[in-house]
Symmetry: C2
Subunit: 411 residues, 2 copies
């Protein structure tokens, strides 16, 4: 019988120091001993990526992105070498691969590259030789032979891309919490672990601030039907299984509450009401790979509009520059921006089809005295932009409103 | 007219921190402004390589060498990215290449790889586009696509290999001293800079302990007739030019005194006097890429010999293990080792053809009360193994004996 292939991914906190690397090595070997072929994706140790980025910042405020990738990709390369040595020292054969060596081919968009292919020949060969394969997450190589990095959620994406390509029997994402919770347990002490969640719901929760796994990794997993088990690398637990939606009951369920503080709001005021203005703005953003999140266009009486939208805070300054440029071109009145905002969201399949749910959410916020600045909804989520100092209150009151401490499982 | 190509190499101390990296960027641009096409080889920042090696040591006492190369090669990758950003921030175009991207192909001997080819296509293309090219020293890639490192003197070797392949018009090695001195200025305060020295003399001085440039790099430079200018990256100075021997006067000159403390002595006692014993031992050493330096075989009356030799201290433990194994196989009496030894040498073309020179060296040591343990000579050097606590006295007394404070140029 063929051995099963298991892909595991360990995040930065799981390999933050030598002791933790040794513990991860033990966990990997345990799983290998069950007769599995192991492919392990690793992030950079602890805060390494931040430290490297800071060094670049000491040289220039706007480092060239190719060089930034050259720089920060060293973080994972250190991790894979050390983890491989740790496995060797426990008597098992293992080999490390950089993103390039593992055949992770990407497009040429530095610092935010997308995986375009996985040439897994080398990796397969190593597995066939019985080696445990350790792969640098977060990185790849483009057609020019330049090192790229995958941006946020990059290591999760590497793991799922490899699991898909290798048709792995399991994909386990190890992080610092034991799965996905109904809310951030640091904010809501009664938050409960969700045992099983659908790709759609998880993708929404992730894109709305749940830090456990990145939504782009979920999207990839859904496309290739890779089941993901999210577990803690520190404590034993059952984790959360992310897979296709289970047959749904009629009953609509709010699965969780998320918060996102890494968000800034930009408003262009006095936009002339001519076609193509919004297109022009968001095309310029897309060209810089900036993801625009909530968008509201409000019409005024005298043929001018306001356009408000949110972006991630790390794209904030760049977005303001672009917006001001476009505002000038289209003859808008002014651009204002606000960084003291945060987004609270509820997620659950079908929740927007039941108007009572939105009403309960807004009502809970009102009762708590939290003003709602912007609202956006999709089929399975409702998000409200609120003032960031009130975000924790907002999460708690909504979690309570939907009785989320009584669903899921005990921590 | 074609632009000149200049290859520069900056060692670890030259790029030890952000400030120094910025200063190096300025120096490079200065040279580029003179109309030169620049290729710059960089080492890892300061003590990075040591720190990475130490991390590996915290995991295992005998790290796998492929993984060690994977680990320590990140050091130069950080340097090239930061230096390239620093050049960008000063308004010049530049691009970084890892050893692999620069086409440095090596054999498969990890941690001590030898350069077998330079595929300089990418590099040429970047130069043609007017970019300053920054290359990670000390590293390459083997036929399996694995990252290799070149061992001691690796970055110098990278620089000279590139200078040879690109038929560069100059090769400048920047280090923390302004050239090559008649002795280590930290030990001998009256030491003088040597303005011009031949490849042969420099190779000897380097292999005998002068830290300025590694002898393997000199060997490569001699083979390809690459003239090397060794300069300080901190102070302005004329440096030392290393090139083919100038027409020699009849007069034999002692060029310099060197010391090497990174040395250990091993003695096999009671070796049966049968043919092939030394071959067996040194073949085993060569297979592990261990360089055996001084060798003395002394015959005894009863058909047994002693064989004494020295190796670099970092190969010491491994060498003792190998020697004990061989000693057992050939039925030798015992293996003894001594790490408290050091080597003092004088270098100068033709010095061994004048017996008076050796006599003066030994005499000076005797007068200073320094015992000579082993002696070895070649056409242009005489080396004595002495007790390591006496090494500085030995260097000073020999420097004085040959009036080296009166040759060369003022510091």
């Amino acid at each position: 019988m063929m051995n099963k292939i298991i892909v595991q991914k360990y995040g930065g906190s799981s390999v933050a120091n030598i002791e933790r690397i040794k513990r991860v090595a033990e966990k990997i070997i345990e799983k290998a001993k069950e007769g599995n072929k192991m492919v392990v994706v690793v992030s950079a140790m602890g805060k390494t990526t931040d430290e490297l980025t800071k060094m670049a910042g000491q040289i220039t405020s706007s480092p060239n992105e190719r060089e930034l990738d050259m720089l920060i990709s060293t973080g994972e390369q250190v991790s894979i070498a050390l983890l491989t040595m740790a496995i060797h020292s426990l008597g098992r054969d293992a080999i490390s691969f950089t993103g390039m060596q593992a055949g992770i081919v990407t497009n040429t968009v530095h610092t935010k590259a997308k995986v375009s292919a996985v040439n897994h020949k080398k990796l397969k060969l190593a597995l066939e030789k019985g080696k445990i394969v350790i792969v640098a997450g977060f990185q790849g190589i483009d057609v020019n032979g330049d090192i790229t990095t995958l941006g946020r959620g990059g290591s999760d994406t590497t793991a799922i891309a490899l699991a898909a390509r290798l048709e792995a029997n399991g994909c386990e994402i190890y992080t610092d919490v034991d799965g996905v919770y109904t809310a951030d347990p640091r904010i809501v002490h009664t938050a409960r672990r969700i045992p099983v969640i659908s790709y759609d719901e998880m993708a929404e929760m992730a894109s709305l601030g749940a830090k456990v796994i990145h939504y782009r990794a979920i999207d990839l997993a859904r496309n290739y039907k890779v089941k993901i088990l999210v577990k803690s690398s520190f404590i034993e637990g059952k984790g959360t299984l992310i897979k296709e939606a289970a047959p749904m009951l009629e009953k609509v369920i709010v699965r969780g509450v998320t918060q996102e503080t890494n968000v800034g709001k930009i408003v262009i005021r006095g936009v002339p009401d001519v076609p193509g203005v919004a297109y022009k703005l968001f095309k310029a953003m897309a060209e810089k790979e900036i993801i625009v999140d909530m968008i509201i266009q409000s019409a005024h009486h005298n043929q001018v509009n306001d356009i408000a939208f949110t972006v991630a805070l790390n794209d904030f300054d760049k977005s303001i520059r672009i917006t001001k440029q476009i505002a000038k071109e289209i003859g808008a009145k002014e651009v204002i921006s606000e960084s003291e905002v945060a987004k609270v969201s509820i997620v659950g399949a079908g929740i927007t089809s039941d108007p009572a749910i939105a009403a309960r959410m807004f009502g809970a916020l009102a009762k708590e005295g939290v003003n709602i600045d912007m609202i956006s909804t999709s089929g399975i989520k409702i998000s409200c932009l609120v003032s960031s100092p009130r975000i924790e209150d907002a999460v708690r009151t909504i979690h309570k409103e939907f009785n989320l401490n009584k669903v899921g499982e005990e921590k």
